[in-house]
Symmetry: D2
Subunit: 470 residues, 4 copies
């Protein structure tokens, strides 16, 4: 994606029964780094005590000292990479969150976004609870602590039955690892195992590979698993609604997940490539010289477009991967260094050419415009922009950090107006129908950001939205 405007919330990872549990979580978080770069943390249990280390920054920064990992002794561990969805970038919001409660120590890490977090929070605060972070995770931890059930698993199930929204969560108690996924299965969560008999939970399968783990299966929508010495037991999260169908977030295929991951029953790479193929069918470009993607996320869709159209794929933008979070803007200049330092156009490839640029999505449009202008410094003859997802018109309530509706370029302008704004020769978006034709079981995906069809019960939405929660 060209834009900094959509952010996935988080990546979660868990290991049970391995003498190097914290090490393996560390490797898993490395592979999930693309899901969150704000803070990182690992909680580990030695069978008695749960210890934790977390800090702001990338995994490699948070765990830069060998001794930090070595001090996290134990056979089970969970970890978390966070990208703030709520704006508050503080250490208090870093995860996992470790609590002491009636059931002892429990650490929790969460990927997703609850739509009734604010009302739950308000209710509990009125009832005397104190909150130290602004995370949804802390809301879940409070619900667990307040449950009157007898066992930790019943307490967790009790808690999850009261929350509404997207969650893929992992919990660590002294001798048990838990994983759960909301009834709509909005975010992915995968179960794995390695040859040593260790079990794994991960937001994506790409994080299994470094541990030599194999995917067993996805955690089902609405399922909680308890993993302890006796093995894996599956629970169904109690739901008090008539019927719930899956509503997988299609943005996992469009952008979030790494192409080498398997989520929602498919290889990400394959679906993403088909989006590109379909885009080439829907909005072909005649006589173009080359197809390029905005690196790195749109490369796969661009390859699909190239395959389908027969137009040569090429690398027209170089991405500088050394640009970290600490780039210092050199002051008074009006130039957009944020985009320029990250990308550089390849003149030898672009000059005088009729170019198809594929990107995965457009949110505000401002960054896209900067990239187009940057590409133009290499003097291509024409630029044809193709987007491998439909126009983003509605905000997301399930864990994607998006601008408000008024800032979404596609909610205010039609395609031709956007084309003019972006100063390109032509513009084509993958249609919602085109996208759905590629998805396996399209009825099981949430496409609300494209068409406003939110997969939650109507009365809930109404109630909450009237309540001004969003």
């Amino acid at each position: 994606m060209s834009s900094d405007s959509i952010h996935e919330s988080c990546g979660v990872f868990g290991v049970f029964n391995n003498p190097r549990a914290a090490h393996l979580v560390y490797l898993g978080l490395y592979a999930l780094q693309h899901r969150g770069q704000e803070s990182s943390g690992i909680a580990v249990s030695d069978g008695n005590t749960v210890n934790i280390h977390k800090a702001m920054g990338l995994v490699g920064h948070v765990f830069k000292h060998q001794s930090t990992i070595e001090n996290l002794k134990g056979h089970s561990a969970i970890g978390h990479n966070r990208y703030s969805t709520t704006g508050a970038s503080t250490i208090e919001n870093a995860q996992p969150i470790l609590i002491n409660c009636r059931a002892g120590q429990i650490a929790g890490a969460h990927n997703g976004n609850l739509i009734n977090a604010d009302s739950l929070r308000k209710r509990m605060v009125n009832d005397g609870s104190i909150f130290m972070s602004t995370t949804d995770t802390e809301v879940i931890m409070h619900l667990i602590a307040r449950s009157k059930r007898e066992t930790i698993e019943a307490m967790i199930l009790d808690a999850l039955s009261g929350v509404e929204g997207a969650y893929s969560v992992v919990f660590l108690a002294s001798d048990t690892l838990y994983g759960a996924r909301d009834p709509r299965g909005i975010r992915p969560l995968i179960l794995g195992k390695n040859s040593e008999g260790s079990f794994f939970l991960s937001s994506e399968t790409c994080a299994f590979d470094l541990s030599g783990a194999q995917m067993i299966r996805e955690i089902e929508p609405g399922e909680m698993v308890r993993i302890d010495k006796r093995g894996i037991v599956s629970y169904r999260i109690p739901v008090f609604e008539p019927e719930i169908r899956p509503a997988h977030c299609v943005f996992e295929f469009i952008y979030f997940s790494r192409p080498d991951s398997f989520v929602f029953g498919s290889n990400v790479d394959k679906i993403r490539r088909k989006f590109g193929r379909q885009l080439a069918i829907d909005f072909p470009v005649k006589d173009a010289d080359l197809v390029m993607g905005v690196p790195d996320s749109a490369t796969t869709a661009a390859l699909g477009f190239s395959e389908q159209s027969g137009i040569r794929f090429d690398i027209g933008l170089i991405r500088n991967h050394y640009v970290g979070r600490t780039f210092i803007h050199p002051g008074q200049s009006g130039r957009d260094f944020g985009t320029r330092i990250k990308f550089n156009p390849v003149k030898g490839v672009l000059k005088g050419k009729k170019v198809v640029i594929v990107d995965d999505s457009i949110v505000r449009g401002t960054t896209m415009l900067k990239i187009i202008r940057l590409v133009k410094t290499a003097e291509p003859a024409q630029i044809h922009l193709r987007i491998s997802s439909p126009p983003v018109m509605c905000p997301c309530f399930y864990g994607i950090d998006m601008p408000t509706e008024s800032e979404l370029i596609a909610s205010n302008r039609n395609v031709e107006e956007i084309r003019q704004y972006l100063e390109v020769d032509s513009l084509g978006y993958l249609s919602v129908e085109g996208m759905q034709s590629v998805l396996p079981g399209p009825e099981n995906f949430c496409t609300a950001c494209f068409n406003g069809k939110y997969p939650m019960l109507e009365k809930n939405v109404e109630k909450e939205m009237v309540g001004g929660q969003f």
Copy 2:
């Protein structure tokens, strides 16, 4: 390149006449980060005093505090990214090197490798000089300080006339910027200018773009330029040898330079792509399903191979760009985490496919083997390895950090033996002739690492090699 075994020494950058000189060098060093990640530094002159900041680590780390750049006040500056060629990773070896000498303060930064550095050093040490680093740069600075000439430019010319080998150097005195390139033009050095009238010197043109600078021309082999308020003056470095022809390092095209740079009179991208095309002509693969490059450096050559062969280009390996220098190896495991954490194969792309893998070079072969084995975990039907440079058989004396001859896989095994070692179905290297057919003016390139034809005078090489300098 798949391997950590060849390292370019350095990137240099200079700015003259800009109120934000240190800022612009900072941006330039960001763009040259691929040429050296060990240490980084900037020296700046305010017309009277030269100040410096340097430290171990990436540019973004060394200059992470806004105040560091802000405190480097002045209108002229030079900067340097270093990758150690001599093994000593210490702050003493970080550059620029700032000295106080008869001519006042001079800072110098150097890309290249001198072949008579050791004998010069020994001679000066015997004569009472003290050395605080193990860099060739300090040797040059000593030669400058010891020159009896009257002006700084004469002192620098005097110094450079005594060194033998590869150098692209920039120097900063209180009110003057200098740039020089060895008579063989082994490493690149480019002169640029922006619309504000500021002048630039850079190892590659890609570093000009962030400052809005345009290339004027390359510094000529054997040329030194002096840039001050009066403009640019060109000098010829005195040479005491009968004839010297250019000997540009072909590895700049194969691997070192960024594809969006222009060096040695050509776009890197274009030459690199032609290497891939020629490779496809010399060693075609019948009925292959896809061509992939080892990311990121071999991608351009792989695109050339794809174009020529008509075999579809694809992304079969994902590179994790978040892996930094501080990765902690998780202990006792025998697994090769260095390669695994950096790359992940895309099963959806590779499984069951007849795959052509293009890489730019093989040095030791050990990393290549790890990558092949990693790719095999995705179960391709066949692997055909193609290398877009000839077999590396001889060590380099000009600034590339290579293993000794006995460690070079191609100096000990023929191609079939290497194929067996690498466990691939076929292996093809670009031939020296094929490579030269692509180069503009092939007689102007050094190909010694492929065929042992070192471009220096025979007697010198002999003398030095007998003397055991290497």
Copy 3:
């Protein structure tokens, strides 16, 4: 004190109505650094939002960047220096603790120790509360959040009416500062004001001086003050017990408070000096050459002993103030570097002399022995040890971190046995009666650690102690 075995818990400081509130708290914490060196933190309110910064380490370390203080904008602030009483040295236990609750944001900082914290904690945990630290402060914050009262002040009073033990606390809400002190007045808390109309709360008066503040009065035992724009209002903390008399901790006079502070109605320096005078009356040393104190805490008592006895005061031990928290023990040696690096005997003063050493207390006796042996390396003729407090025989439940009874040397040995253990020529402790003769209103002081007369209601103690809380 010679020993690391008794630690005060904390220092607290608050400012209301000053544009540089965080700055002034920073200065106050500097002056209170002796009360806690483990962690430090400041919370500040700008009238709407309460922000916080806290970290492990000394004040000067936690707030080493100018920008940290500058970013804490607001007119009211509280701060805290912590010395762990419960052993857990983690950032989670650093204070102030900032919560979101029904009444909004409240930050709290606490000096003291609650005797019913564990049972309150257990009760609330059973009722569904979650705890993230092991501090008593978090217990108080939970009680506030759970109160059903209408106003913040009523909620705080409600909370405090339920806790038992020692507390001097400050709270910061968006536009109000609160200070409260337990009904026994065990720890000090002082109210001050400066000429600009800003109000201050501090554990000791010595912290007022840097802000140019003057003491108004001590917060009364059992009093809470609310400070807002309308002024200061005083409340009485509800108590459900027949009668409570003051029980000021005499160790504030013996060791904790700085000699230039005024606490419990007296100048610390004056009382501490009288302890030394009384000691010289009770246990004189004939014909001694000099009196010295163990620096720095026992110097004042030693001066008192010198005045009374007419024996010359001298400096026999130099203390190295550069020894920080990060001293690295040089490995295998059996030597006690902890004591040796901190103190060095002055041979020129001690050699051949009959020396009186005054220290303020003995806890375990192990450090005292190391000091005696260190002094002996300077070859004094005789050592007469005098302790300006009675033998410590019983553990403290009110906020002093003491060893268990079995580790207290005075609970296991009589004075002659201690003298032999410490290898000194004579040993004298200030008697309980001697100490009380010096105290103003001795019946208002807690002397439980000397005689086991705990100032809480008998049935409570019994109940809690039977309950195994300690």
Copy 4:
């Protein structure tokens, strides 16, 4: 001393033949921390290679990681604490300085100040040498490297014979430790030994104690010792002057050395105390209530004054030892926080009293005035200031960092005028004669800063001063 205006340059320490050599140097530097707080470093030799670690900051900061010391492996080591005498606070000036020269690796560390450093430097620079620091130490290292002598010891002697001024230096070569002291013996340097057969060199004896070392003797003025496996050999530094008599810096007794050290043949404590006694004889105060010193340096002299006068010694100012180098000034206030945060007056001691304050010296007078005003906030009845050294009237060329003559209060005002400036009731300085009556062999001490009688050859001084070196 109350003032920040005089600074000793450095402390040096060396160890030969100990498996924990770097550890012992670390301990030694801790004890010498008072001689320099700007930077710290240790060089260690394992018999082949000399390695080094140095950084800005206190010893405890520079060596805060256990691994730093552990990585400094070897049996011989030297260390250095630096206080900048030349104003340039940069890592380049940190010591030891490690060079590669004709004789191999040599590390050097220096305490003192050369008076002909600038001319030597200029001469060598003209001859082609390069300088990377502004230290006198680098001048000495260059002289060593340039010597044509055969052995390292001859090269060092050759170098030292050419320098003029104050130096106590230690050098470390691969298998040898050297120590040398200038012919006037201006700074101290002591030789020690421990029971394990390790040898030690130190600026003061107080640094021996932590290693269990005993003083053998002082290095003689004009002596160099070479310590290697064969033992200790003594050399005389060649001098090309008619006669040189000792000129020990009397400020070592007045202020620099720790009272528990033995330097220049005497216990520092004893001499310093006699200064106080003599001061009480020369300028008694009638009917004073108490004598206090400005902590910590003037305490010993104050004790001497108290003994002689019979006036009670007391502690009237508390010094806050937690104030580090990173204190942040809280902005706009006009208050002098530098003094106020460091000292606090004890009202209980001072109020209404006739007080004698003893300090060791007055340089500019500005800090003294701040302290006097601070003491007055405690409302003493009278203040009688006594200074245990004569008025400082002339600058020092031998290593003490002093203001220029025009800034020295005593070179511009007589005692009565100073008294008025300092707003005290009376003022008395120790007379030069009084000071000399206390010194053992007063003719062997340099008193130039009090009377301008510089101990160097007249023509040299003239030549250099005319030359504008200072």
